[in-house]
């Protein structure tokens, strides 16, 4: 052990003297001043186009024997799923672990287990990825297995039936969770059933998916032409490029990045409360908001500052008021879901049933407040900017974080110098900017308020607030009579 008793005793004696001396002079009311701010070190990376058309991004980092490897496909379920086959992306992702031309599902699982790692596959709304984190020593064999899954999967029919049955159980379980119901209904009322952002897998669509759907979907989706391969960690650019070219030699070229053209949003409607009944619920789950801007908005920095003041942090206005001051909740917050499309602005949280009406008033008060009725203070503005700028170094702590951050810049079409520019953009945001973007992107005249809770207890009090008319919806977001 590094510790040595003699040294510890000597040190203790030294500290005893020094602390006794310091106790005389220490003024605890003085906040210790901050030291010199550390310079922002954004990792650097190289970009190369591989022979199959995929973009290879490599960021070397040699402090630990670790590598993060991921292939990100630009475009996701919202671009490539049919409305009557929602869920095919997720099932296809899961089917990649069910066997290849040379390894069955058990053999794949065993091989990965003995390497001490796992390959994860996930397809989200606007992008998908297949990847892993390994030690340096197990990078090559793990990459070989990933390539086998990507190119040689056999999609056994019996596996699809098992996975489908598991999905259906998960859908049933989710229907009992107020958080899941709230997010689903919120998306449905904001975007409507014919917009990809208003849809999600349901029992009908999951039951309709055939093996042919999965095979065709895999063939069309997993294409190097829309792939960003990001490798971060204990590798060299040259070595990893050769290894990736070799491992993915059988992945045929082709595929384009999708255009991300979303259908028009449904016509707006006046502010409305949508109430979903959950009899006996101990809390009411709130989701309040409207469709928001894409990640490419020129107002991104101002929106980040505005949301940090409103609901992005513990001491933001919403949580400081509704949790800390009023005690109605264990936590409320707000935020934007930035992407290529009009992802939502949302404010919400779980509120004790008896205070649902009072909490609604407070939510509305804070949303109007950030739009100008409660002026932004100098301190709020400074704290929000400090938090946003000074948190950046912490975003680059792990190989997986670095990989995710770089990939996200590339997928969103942002410049490599984004973070350096972002620091400047945040620092020049004014109070006027905060109010302007709050008004522009939070449309309180036409927002939707979705509340999942005990209708028998809360409907009357919610109505009495006079905030908005109430429409009763079911768990799927359909009108209930």
């Amino acid at each position: 052990m590094r510790n040595n008793k003699t040294i510890a005793a000597a040190l203790a004696a030294f500290l005893a003297c020094s602390s006794a001396a310091l106790a005389q002079t220490l003024d605890r009311t003085k906040v210790p001043p901050a030291g010199k701010p550390p310079a922002l070190h954004v990792p650097t990376w190289t970009k190369t186009t591989l022979s199959n058309g995929a973009l290879l991004v490599v960021s070397e980092r040699h402090n630990l024997p670790l590598v993060s490897f991921s292939i990100t496909l630009v475009g996701g379920a919202n671009q490539f799923e049919r409305a009557d086959r929602r869920g095919v992306a997720g099932l296809t992702a899961a089917m990649l672990s069910e066997g290849t031309t040379t390894r069955n599902g058990d053999q794949l699982a065993q091989a990965l287990q003995l390497l001490g790692t796992s390959v994860s596959v996930g397809i989200g709304d606007e992008s998908g990825s297949i990847g892993f984190v390994s030690t340096t020593a197990t990078l090559a064999p793990t990459l070989d297995i990933l390539a086998d899954m990507l190119v040689n999967s056999t999609f056994p029919a019996e596996s699809l039936e098992r996975l489908r049955a598991q999905r259906l159980v998960a859908l049933t379980q989710a229907n009992a969770q107020p958080g899941v119901i709230g997010r689903r209904v919120f998306a449905r009322v904001l975007y409507g059933a014919s917009h990809p952002m208003g849809q999600e897998p349901d029992e009908t669509s999951v039951k309709a998916i055939t093996r042919d759907d999965v095979v065709a979907w895999h063939k069309a989706y997993f294409r190097p032409g829309r792939a960003v391969i990001t490798v971060v960690g204990d590798v060299t650019q040259a070595g990893v490029q050769a290894a990736v070219e070799k491992a993915l030699a059988a992945w045929p070229a082709g595929g384009d990045k999708p255009a991300f053209t979303y259908p028009a949003l449904p016509a707006t409607h006046p502010l409305t409360i949508y109430l979903v009944d959950k009899p006996g619920a101990a809390q009411s789950t709130f989701n309040i908001g409207n469709p928001g801007p894409p990640r490419s908005t020129p107002d991104y920095a101002a929106l980040q500052v505005m949301n940090t003041i409103l609901g992005g942090q513990f001491q933001s206005r919403l949580n400081a008021n509704i949790r800390e001051e009023k005690g109605y909740s264990y936590g409320v917050n707000s935020g934007f879901s930035y992407g290529k499309g009009p992802g939502p602005f949302r404010a919400g949280g779980d509120i004790v049933t008896a205070k649902s009406d009072a909490a609604l008033d407070e939510f509305m008060k804070e949303l109007r407040g950030i739009q100008g009725s409660r002026p932004v203070t100098d301190e709020e503005l400074k704290t929000a900017k400090d938090a946003l700028i000074q948190r950046l170094p912490g975003q680059f702590a792990s190989v997986a974080q670095v990989g995710g951050t770089i990939t996200s810049l590339i997928v969103q079409g942002l410049p490599d110098t984004f973070y350096q520019e972002y620091v400047k953009q945040v620092s020049v945001v004014t109070k006027g900017d905060v109010v302007r973007v709050a008004k522009q992107y939070i449309d309180l005249d036409h927002a939707s308020i979705v509340i999942v809770g005990d209708r028998a207890t809360i409907e009357g009090p919610l109505k009495a607030t006079g905030v908005a008319p109430i429409v009763i919806l079911d768990n799927e977001g359909k009108p209930k009579t």
């Binding site: 602390s19 605890r28 901050a34 550390p38 699982a109 065993q110 390994s134 098992r162 909740s329 779980d350």
Partner: protein
């Protein structure tokens, strides 16, 4: 039980990374075997505070973790929930720190903060840009030394309300949310320190007087019951000076008598059925086992990984893949400081009863008890630990947790090396032995069923009803 819900996952990841096991087949390279290390130095102040420092300059950030050796087991029946209540109160200001400043000097400067409470310990932590380290130490010292100067009944009441909301969100309004407290109150006798939930009884919280709460603080939140880990972009000489300056004059507290925690066994199987607002029934089985101070915990961890997890694990393969009677199954050892439990959970597929699944799971477990696992199973179950350990090194907070857990539970911040070696040393014979020793008839079998559907319980005729949804 964290102060802020959204950070829970991070904590779980840190813990999960520490539970894995070691590679036996993968050849350790020079780079990776030397990576199983966290360099640290330790010293103790005259007032008893243990200080652990570890330098990692990879990012200009630092983690401060204050580990108090107090959890719900230090409470008394009728006065439960205090340790967790303090987790909340500790963020509301102290003698020289007005309300809100703690958040401002952590998340407000680009860092973060939270706390967690379990049966055995409470930990409070901040991550900050490294130039704010001194103020983070000042904040921690002020709430250790001067919390009660600013604690009044109004503050207590406000935090009690928030804790009640935390319980509503995590327990009452969650499907299957009461399972944990039903199992604990069935496993342990009423006076046993592990029998009540960490979040406590809402009645006890309401009944607690200001003086009750303050006395609890005076005893347990003293430097002699505390471990401070500071990890990241730090200069140890500076940090030692700051620690001496801010913590040195906080007086040592009274000697602490730890609760006597008797191991429990169940003489016979306890069968229960609980009706809840759930869409599908679910089966929970729990056996009493051991805590972190017993070497059997390592073999029980491996046993869990051999039973469920990857598709080749025995219960997963049989119930989910071959019989296709379950949508999911999980088995794991949960090790507290003094005692532990081995838990099995089965999610049935429609058309399959809990009775059928219980019998199928028992048959698989019985076979494992007779045969013991294969060498390949041991190798597979333990191969993930090296990666898990090295990934844990990427987080200053993860390292601080490991160092403080080692110091608090084992008297050695470097205990992670012992844990790693003990995980690697688990043999097939060890797993067979612990399976036979602990997975016995003395267990709890709890069926959670939809309201009014007690007939969906496993062996409904033999299962006793437990208190229903309020």
């Amino acid at each position: 039980m964290p102060r802020i819900f959204r950070l829970t996952l991070i904590v779980i990841c840190v813990l999960a990374a520490s539970i894995g096991a070691a590679p036996r087949q993968a050849k350790p390279t020079a780079a990776s075997s030397s990576a199983i290390n966290i360099p640290f130095e330790k010293h103790t102040l005259p007032n008893g505070l243990t200080v652990i420092l570890s330098v990692d300059k990879s990012t200009p950030t630092a983690a401060v973790l204050m580990w108090y050796h107090v959890g719900s087991k230090n409470e008394l029946p009728g006065r439960t929930g205090f340790a967790h209540l303090f987790e909340h109160v500790m963020f509301t200001g102290s003698g020289h720190v007005p309300y809100g400043l703690h958040d401002k000097l952590t998340e407000g400067v680009g860092g973060s903060n939270n706390g967690t409470t379990n049966n055995d310990r409470t930990s409070y932590f901040e991550t900050v840009p490294s130039n704010y380290l001194e103020s983070a130490l000042w904040l921690e010292s002020d709430r250790m030394g001067f919390l009660l100067d600013s604690l009044d009944i109004a503050k207590l009441n406000a935090q009690r309300d928030i804790v009640k909301n935390e319980r509503r969100q995590g327990v009452d309004n969650q499907p299957y949310g009461r399972v944990g407290e039903i199992l604990a109150s069935t496993m342990y006798p009423k006076t046993h320190p592990y029998s009540w939930p960490v979040i406590g009884s809402m009645t006890d919280l309401s009944a607690a007087s200001e003086e009750d709460v303050k006395n609890f603080f005076r005893l347990y939140y003293a430097p002699n019951n505390s471990f401070l880990a500071v990890v990241g972009d730090i200069d140890p000489a500076h940090v030692k000076g700051w620690v001496a300056k801010y913590f040195g004059d906080i007086p040592r507290g009274q000697p602490i008598t730890r609760p006597a925690v008797a191991p429990v066994t169940l003489a016979a199987e306890k069968r229960l059925v609980y009706e809840d607002r759930v869409p599908l029934p679910r089966l929970y089985v729990e056996w009493p086992t051991v805590g972190v101070t017993s070497d059997d915990a390592y073999a029980l961890d491996v046993l869990g990984a051999i039973l469920t997890g990857p598709r080749t694990a025995r219960l997963t393969k049989a119930l989910v893949f071959e019989q296709q009677a379950a949508a999911g199954v999980s088995a794991r050892q949960g090790s507290n400081e003094d005692v532990g439990e081995f838990d099995l959970m089965i999610n049935p597929r429609p058309g399959h009863t809990l009775t059928e699944l219980e019998a199928a799971a028992d048959a698989i477990i019985d076979r494992l008890k007779q045969e013991g696992p294969t060498a390949d199973e041991i190798a597979g179950a333990t191969a993930g630990e090296e990666l898990g350990f090295v990934r844990g090194l990427e987080s200053n907070l993860g390292k601080a947790n490991r160092l403080a857990d080692g110091a608090g539970y084992h008297g050695d911040p470097g205990y992670f090396k012992t844990e790693y070696a003990k995980s690697r040393a688990v043999t097939a014979a060890d797993v067979k032995r612990v399976a036979n020793k602990y997975l016995t008839k003395g267990r709890i079998v709890l069926s959670v069923v939809p309201l009014g559907k007690t007939d969906q319980a496993s062996k409904p005729g033999e299962s006793q009803k437990v208190g229903g949804v309020q």
